[in-house]
């Protein structure tokens, strides 16, 4: 295609110009495929502005970047009833639509094919920061990303209070959230042991 061919020629010249400018000798002749972009910046795209980045977030387990704000059990109860209860149930027990959120401790050690484990926030999730990240980005299901940061902190205080992971008077904020020790915090192994089965042959 002529457009591609012209584009690569242009890139080739551009690459040489860049290499020349920084004092490096061209490493490959220009007629070798790949020469056009070996080692040289393509200089595509633009620098994102602060407003470009303003809607983006993600919070690792150490809590870096968590926003200001806070929430309590009582505030969270109101948020839960208004925004979460329809899918997750009045006792956080889950419904056809939404996962069960609490309970299930002690069900993970199990080798019974007839009895499923109850993998809930309380019994399974290793980090409380994950709740903030997930609820803020994807909940409630019918209006994802609509909760204010205070509402997210509050509903976490409510869920973790109901789960007896924290007391009902504790305040959840950017400082306290990463400090919450989830019951299954040490339940994960992150080195993949596979292949874990060797052929009998």
């Amino acid at each position: 295609m002529p457009i591609t061919s012209r584009g690569m020629t242009w890139l080739g010249l551009s690459a040489c110009a860049v290499i020349g400018a920084v004092g490096c000798a061209p490493q490959q002749p220009r007629n070798v495929p790949g020469a056009a972009y070996s080692g040289a910046k393509l200089n595509l795209g633009t620098t994102p502005s602060a407003s470009d980045m303003s809607g983006y977030f993600s919070y690792p387990a150490d809590g870096r970047g968590l926003p200001p704000g806070s929430g309590t059990y009582s505030a969270g109860e109101k948020v839960y009833q208004a925004k979460c209860l329809a899918c997750h149930g009045d006792k956080l027990q889950g419904t056809k639509l939404g996962d069960r959120l609490i309970g299930g401790r002690g069900t993970l050690v199990n080798n019974n094919p007839a009895k499923p484990p109850a993998k809930t926030i309380e019994s399974y999730w290793p980090y409380a920061t994950t709740i903030f990240d997930y609820v803020k980005r994807a909940m409630p299901f019918n209006a994802p990303g609509s909760l204010k940061d205070d509402e997210v902190y509050a509903v976490i205080a409510y869920i973790l209070g109901k789960a007896n992971v924290i007391g009902k008077t504790e305040v959840i904020n950017a400082k306290t959230l990463p400090e919450v020790k989830m019951p299954n915090r040490d339940g994960f192994t992150s080195h993949d042991p596979r292949p874990d089965v060797r052929s009998a042959d």
Binding site: Y56, L108, P113, A114, D133, P144, G187, F188, T189, R194
Partner: protein, 458 residues
């Protein structure tokens, strides 16, 4: 299964889900159990009858008012296509469709919502190694995002020297590569851990598909933005309603990861992440973030919901494996397979697919006696790394009961294990086992009447 209902409502939900899968599959496949899906047979009979009526009356062929299968256009079927002109050239508007006589479709699990759901590829009808784009399996957590490429951007930031925002046009100006590869959901086969559950190969194995993917090597893009010392992970984020995120080890991103915008020679389909998705060769499908909008380079994984509460493998001892990315070697016989019926003793070509996330398939063995004896099948060339590989095996059925199995070996020497071997190591934590990464040898039982059923046979 009565016993389970005594447990919590969560357990009920799980049971309902399995029941719903079984029911959805039953509805899809309802019919007479022959090698041709009942729906298609019905159509053929109907169309033949309609054509015969038209021909017998000596009139112009009648328009058949039956609804065309998805992806097809209903055309008048003449009694003799040599005696009249066919459909005008270009009548399809410039984008072709499949034959109205072909009716296989993806089927959707009967999940509670249609937004968080999945569909499976009809492998029993597959030919060769490529999955048609319209039959590629789907897994969505917040529906299929509708994205105008003119407004879509990909930002790359975090521990980089020069953060960047790329338009779709920018991405398409990057040097590109194409690779034909499978993508498999790590939940493929989750119903089959403790007992044979779904009836067809679409149900037991339909969460794997192969496409040619075209796009930008992610390593090249990361070289463009420059990595800061200490960078170890990259968070990939989608622009769907789930704003799906997974943390990917940097080494994989630099090795063979691809930002794909092309699929099978055209733009990637909306349900596959249009205008662009991440493709991580050989790794579980959930990490191939669709509708990709952001890459954040970090020193630590982000511990997202998808890599902690989901897509982790719970063992019998209560510990869970995290970041188990690679899809190990696996294979399945697609013909004959569940719900088919062999018309009688005689010659059959057993065929199926094998694949490995660690490279090329080097050997495929077939057993017709439940694993007592094995013989090498023929591998269709070219055999591509991390790609569906078609195998074929000639078989003379003597009419006695048989158990058909296939066993793949990949270039690392890894041999596909039995389901029992996997369970012996990982335990059976509930009816769905450890849910993810079931790659055990699959069995199809052939009865004396030729009927084929899903079986466990170790």
């Amino acid at each position: 299964m009565k016993q389970q209902s005594k447990h919590s409502q969560y357990d009920d939900k799980l049971r309902q889900k399995i029941d719903a899968m079984v029911e959805a599959e039953r509805r899809q496949k309802a019919g007479d159990g022959s090698t041709v899906p009942a729906r298609m047979q019905g159509r053929r009979r109907f169309l033949a009858a309609a054509a015969a009526t038209g021909g017998a009356g000596g009139m112009l062929p009648r328009i058949v008012h039956a609804k065309a299968p998805a992806g097809a256009v209903e055309r008048n079927v003449p009694a003799d296509p040599t005696k009249e002109q066919g459909v005008p050239t270009g009548d399809d508007g410039g984008y072709g469709s499949r034959s109205q006589f072909e009716a296989e479709t993806r089927w959707r699990f009967d999940t509670a919502t249609k937004e968080s759901s999945w569909t499976m590829t009809p492998l029993e009808q597959s030919r060769g190694i490529i999955t048609p784009s319209g039959l590629h399996f789907e897994r969505h957590h917040g529906g299929i995002a509708v994205i105008d490429p003119a407004r879509h951007t990909l930002v790359v930031h975090g521990m980089v020297e020069q953060p960047k925002k790329y338009s779709v046009a920018d991405i398409r100006r990057f040097p590109s590569i194409s690779r034909t590869m499978f993508i498999e959901c790590s939940g493929n086969g989750l119903t089959e851990w403790s007992k044979p559950t779904l009836k067809t190969v679409q149900g037991t194995h339909g969460l794997t598909s192969t496409s040619e993917w075209t796009g930008v090597p992610l390593g090249l893009m990361l070289k463009e933005v420059g990595l800061k010392p200490g960078a170890k992970w990259v968070l990939a984020e989608g622009a769907d309603a789930a704003v799906m995120t997974r943390s990917i080890p940097l080494d994989k991103c630099l090795d063979d990861a691809l930002i794909a915008y092309g699929q099978n020679g055209e733009a990637i389909r909306p349900e596959q992440g249009y205008p662009m998705r991440l493709v991580l060769p050989g790794w579980e499908g959930n990490t191939h973030i669709k509708w990709l909008r952001r890459l954040e380079v970090s020193d630590v994984p982000f511990q997202t919901r998808e890599e902690t509460s989901k897509y982790t493998d719970l063992m019998a001892d209560g510990t869970a494996r995290q970041f188990t990315f690679v899809m190990e070697a696996k294979s399945v016989i697609t013909f004959p397979s569940g719900e088919m019926k062999l018309p009688g003793p005689g010659f059959y070509e057993i065929t199926g697919l094998a694949w490995s996330g660690r490279g090329r398939i080097t050997r495929l063995e077939v057993s017709t006696d439940g694993g007592k004896n094995w013989a090498d099948a023929h591998l269709q060339t070219p055999v591509l790394p991390i790609c569906h590989t078609r195998f074929r095996f000639p078989w003379l059925w003597d009419g006695t009961p048989a158990v058909l199995q296939s066993r793949a070996t990949d270039e690392t020497g890894y041999v596909q294990p039995t389901i029992k071997q996997l369970v012996d190591v990982r335990g059976l934590n509930g009816p769905l086992g450890s849910i993810y990464h079931l790659n055990g040898i699959h069995s199809w039982a052939i009865a004396t009447d030729g009927s084929v059923t899903n079986a466990h046979h170790f």
